[in-house]
Amino acid sequence: MSAVSIIVLVVLVILTLVQVMRISEISSEIQKGKDNEVSPKDNDTQGRLMLLVGFGFIISVVVMYIAWGRHSLPEPSSAHGAEIDSLWNLSMLIINIVFFIVQPILFYFAYKYRGKKGTKATYYEHNNRLELFWTMVPALALAVLIIWGLNVWSTLMMPENEEEPILVEVYAQQFNWTVRYSGGDNELGYATVHEIAGANILGVDTQDPASADDIVTKELHLPVGKPIQFAFRSQDVIHSAYFPHFRAQMNCVPGSVTNFQFTPTVTTAEIRQNKDVKAHVEEVNEIRKAKGEDVWDFNYVLLCNKICGAAHYNMQMDIIVETQDEFDAWLKEQKTVAETL
């Protein structure tokens, strides 16, 4: 049925266009075929439209910032996240300044210099000083961004730790996550895909003494204020462990172990009291209520952010950031590898 209606619609559109064409053909005959040359009237109309639509676009960008800016992620919940966000804010400031200067000039010039009868353009082919100027200004702005960016990057990648970070493995497979804590020795036991069998989904080598106190869970609990050194593995295809609230992301690559370190700074309980997060939760729950879905409470979440197959869109795990005591109590309840395998 819908196929028929689509075909009918397409035919109607084509018929309309044919009619439009015939009308324009007749009118063009009246104007003796001059219809397809750009007339001064066209230049005037199109120039004005350039100004109108161009500025309409610029204003709509402002409107989008006001309407949707609040959807942006809440303030970072990790120590390095604040550094990323300051750099982000500076970069956004610079590119927005450029945007809101250059775009209006472009559309204004298009309007201002629209072709008029009897005018002649100015022959102006180059100006080395001007060109040097707008080579140097971006170069200087970029120098600032590059230097600061590299600085942040190196602190992210090579963090200096006052205390030894807790080692946690995040393990990816189509289409779920598993976590392995290193236990009391803070050392992960050797693991390989060749050991995967039955309940040993991570392929932990039970012969390795370091593996005995490892703890395998399906939830990621993290103690607040402690640096966490993540080791990422995948058993099948590339996945990407994306922690948007912590401004962290790292690919999980089969055949190798990748690393990322961050220190969570805000517990789940605290972030639920954040006013942006509260507003977000309220807004979401109103939508969910209207659709008859469960009420949602904010949780940190780990997403897969590298296409990995059919259920890629639903490969997730909750993250709970809690106090050291809560974390210790939770961890104590979990069974070690020695107990389960």
């Binding site: 196929a3 689509i6 559109v13 219809d35 066209d42 350039m50 639509v53 676009f57 949707w68 959807h71 942006s72 990323i84 970069s91 590119i95 450029v98 775009q103 000039i105 010039f109 298009a110 210099y113 629209r114 072709g115 008029k116 353009a121 100015t122 022959y123 102006y124 180059h126 060109e131 707008w134 971006p138 970029l142 590299l150 942040v152 992210l156 390989t192 990422f232 099948d236 295809v237 994306y242 948007p244 992301q249 790292m250 690919n251 690559v253 089969p254 055949g255 190798s256 807004e283 979401v284 939508i287 969910r288 979440v301 997403l303 952010n305 296409i307 197959g309 059919a310 890629h312 997730q316």
Partner: protein
């Protein structure tokens, strides 16, 4: 010395034409032609056909994103068993985004854009009778055609087309058991791309040789129109980078078919450990992006070349800072080879490499900024003629600026971490590369349609097409920045699995409305294009009053382009509104008047 030989050759060619004026039949004229103008048109029509498929796919998956897991009979109509009861299957969703990307990047914006206009314009604008090798040129088209046929065929295989994203990262793309799309569909994808690469190399070599050796007398490199500079540098990029993709594709084929382990190691899938050992999936990414990033400029530079020409002609002014424009094309091309790692900041590669790639990537902003400012200064104090081509060129400057700016964020490794693979990236590259390049392509079609078909396209439909496209395209892609800043990953079949994204659903609906209107607006263009081929009013020889040599050829196409001698060039291509000149343009083949200083 070399120019005299060229002239002699030309005269010889002319004699040859006079002696054997052979009759052409349908096959030699339209199909197995070696005439560069016809080959250009073949590229254009094939590219447009592929473009229709690519855009229609985006309509289907936009519908799914706006109304996830809902039933639409139209989906079942197009997708059959992949949309049982009108609900799209996640596997076909991934296949649609994959093939949409592949088709738009390679078939439309590489072959359709560069293939069309390099072929059409290089001989016409440098004053050559044809390409250096007409046969290689025809071969280039037919490899492209075969590649297109294989790609379209892959849509109909039992297990579905390739679905691992247009970058087809292994192991996902290497293992048929990882997803249905990695079966026969992926094999055909690789075969198609191999044919495509051959086509691209044959074309590029031809363009380079032609530009270097076959310029007419007086056409020094510094008198070349910027279109030719752009096509020339694009061809160099293609020759240097496409072979690397070929090797990446071949190694992937070996892994898939011969059991080698170039990209695979330690994989457990389907309840067993696979026998691959010692390879690295990241190796593939290095090889892929060594092409992949120059590819962005292979797409973009021809569009920038076209817009330079169109903006200068229709502002009735010289392009501002010709040498800076050439310099920035060269700088962008050089830098494009040393920035590929910015696609891989979160792969776990050595952090030092991340620093280097951040540095080189952000440097690209400098020549890009120079180009943008020079375009704007070209408009300044111009006498702008708003042809549809001019409108699209101005829109190109706008999207080039908008999209380029967010590149400053994504190119910065520290910032990329949090928006990598989110909708922020989708917004960025669609605006800076997709829209800019497609606007350049539209500008080229509107501007050189009279040269291709001897007729004019309808102006009013051109205006309607432009405004609808310009408004809806920004309406589709600008809001995506906000989705990305909310942390929404790309390539998600549905966002309903995460309640935190529930409040973004409205934005996605809005985007889909814009997408459908914008997609429908392209029907105006297609209708205008085909209608004007047969029914458009006859064009004058030089309808836009341009300076470059293509407008000195007769409206009716002939082999060898010029009925008499090839014109000799006395000036650059941008003597518009030159003081002292009678008209507001002075074609390149007009000798300098007495006492006239050669501008520039």
């Amino acid at each position: 010395m070399s120019t005299t030989t060229t002239t002699e050759k030309n005269n010889h060619f002319q004699d040859h034409l006079m002696e054997h004026h052979h009759e052409e039949n349908f096959f030699t004229k339209y199909l197995f032609t070696m005439d560069h103008k016809m080959i250009g048109k073949q590229f254009l029509i094939t590219g447009m056909f592929m473009g229709i498929i690519g855009v229609m796919m985006s309509m289907l998956f936009r519908l799914e994103i706006a109304y996830p897991e809902q039933s639409f009979p139209i989906l079942e109509f197009f997708l059959g068993k992949w949309a049982p009861d009108g609900v799209m299957d996640p596997n076909i969703y991934l296949a649609l985004v994959t093939i949409h990307g592949t088709i738009m990047v390679f078939f439309v914006l590489t072959a359709g854009l560069s293939g069309t206009f390099s072929n059409l314009l290089i001989p016409l604008q440098i004053g050559a009778r044809d390409m250096a090798s007409g046969f290689m040129n025809a071969l280039s088209y037919w490899f492209f055609f075969a590649s297109s046929v294989v790609m379209v065929t892959s849509l109909f295989v039992e297990s579905g087309p390739a679905a691992a994203g247009w970058t087809v990262y292994p192991p996902l793309s290497a293992l048929p058991q990882a997803m249905p799309g990695s079966g026969a569909g992926m094999t055909l994808w690789l075969i198609s791309m191999t044919l495509f690469i051959v086509s691209s190399l044959l074309g590029s070599l031809n363009y380079i040789v032609t530009v270097l050796n076959m310029r007419t007398k007086g056409m020094s490199m510094t008198r070349l129109p910027l279109t030719i500079w752009a096509f020339f540098v694009t061809a160099v990029l293609g020759v240097l980078s496409f072979p690397v993709l070929l090797s990446a594709a071949l190694l992937l084929m070996f892994d898939r078919m011969l059991g080698t382990s170039f990209y695979l190691s330690d994989i457990f899938m389907g309840g067993e450990v696979l026998s691959y050992s010692g390879g690295s999936p990241v190796l593939y990414q290095h090889l892929f992006w060594f092409l992949g990033h120059p590819e962005v400029y292979i797409i973009l530079l021809p569009a920038l070349g076209i817009s330079s020409e169109v903006i200068a002609t229709n502002s009735r002014k010289p392009i501002f800072g010709y040498r800076a424009m050439v310099g920035s094309i060269l700088a962008i091309a050089f830098l494009s080879f040393i920035v590929w790692g910015h696609h891989m900041f979160v792969t776990g590669m050595n952090p030092f490499l991340g620093s280097v790639f951040t540095f080189t990537t952000l440097l690209i902003a400098i020549p890009s900024a120079v180009k943008a400012f020079n375009y704007i200064t070209t408009l300044w104090k111009g006498n702008i003629q708003f042809t549809p081509a001019m409108l699209f060129s101005i829109a190109l400057v706008s999207t080039f600026v908008t999209g380029g700016l967010t590149g400053v964020i994504l190119g910065d490794s520290a910032l990329d971490i949090n928006v990598h693979d989110t909708y922020f990236v989708v917004a960025h590259f669609h605006i800076v590369m997709g829209l800019s390049a497609i606007y350049g392509m539209f500008a080229g079609v509107y501007h050189w349609f009279p040269k291709m078909y001897g007729r004019m396209m309808n102006k009013s439909m051109g205006y309607a097409h432009f405004w609808l496209t310009f408004i809806t395209a920004y309406g589709v892609f600008f809001p995506m920045h906000f989705l990305g800043m909310a942390g929404l990953p790309r390539r998600y079949y549905s966002n309903t699995a995460f309640p935190m994204f529930d409040n973004l659903a409205d934005i996605n609906v809005l985007i889909t409305y814009f997408a459908i209107i914008g997609g429908a607006a392209q029907l105006i263009f297609i209708f205008n294009f085909f209608y004007s081929i047969w029914r458009g009013p006859k064009s004058k020889q030089n309808p836009w009053r341009g300076n470059s040599l293509e407008w000195t050829t007769p409206v009716e196409h002939i082999h060898g382009n010029w009925p008499g001698d090839v014109p000799v060039v006395y000036r650059w291509a941008y003597d518009y509104s030159k003081p002292g000149a009678e008209e507001d343009f002075v074609p390149q083949n007009v000798p300098l008047a007495e006492g006239e200083e050669s501008g520039h």
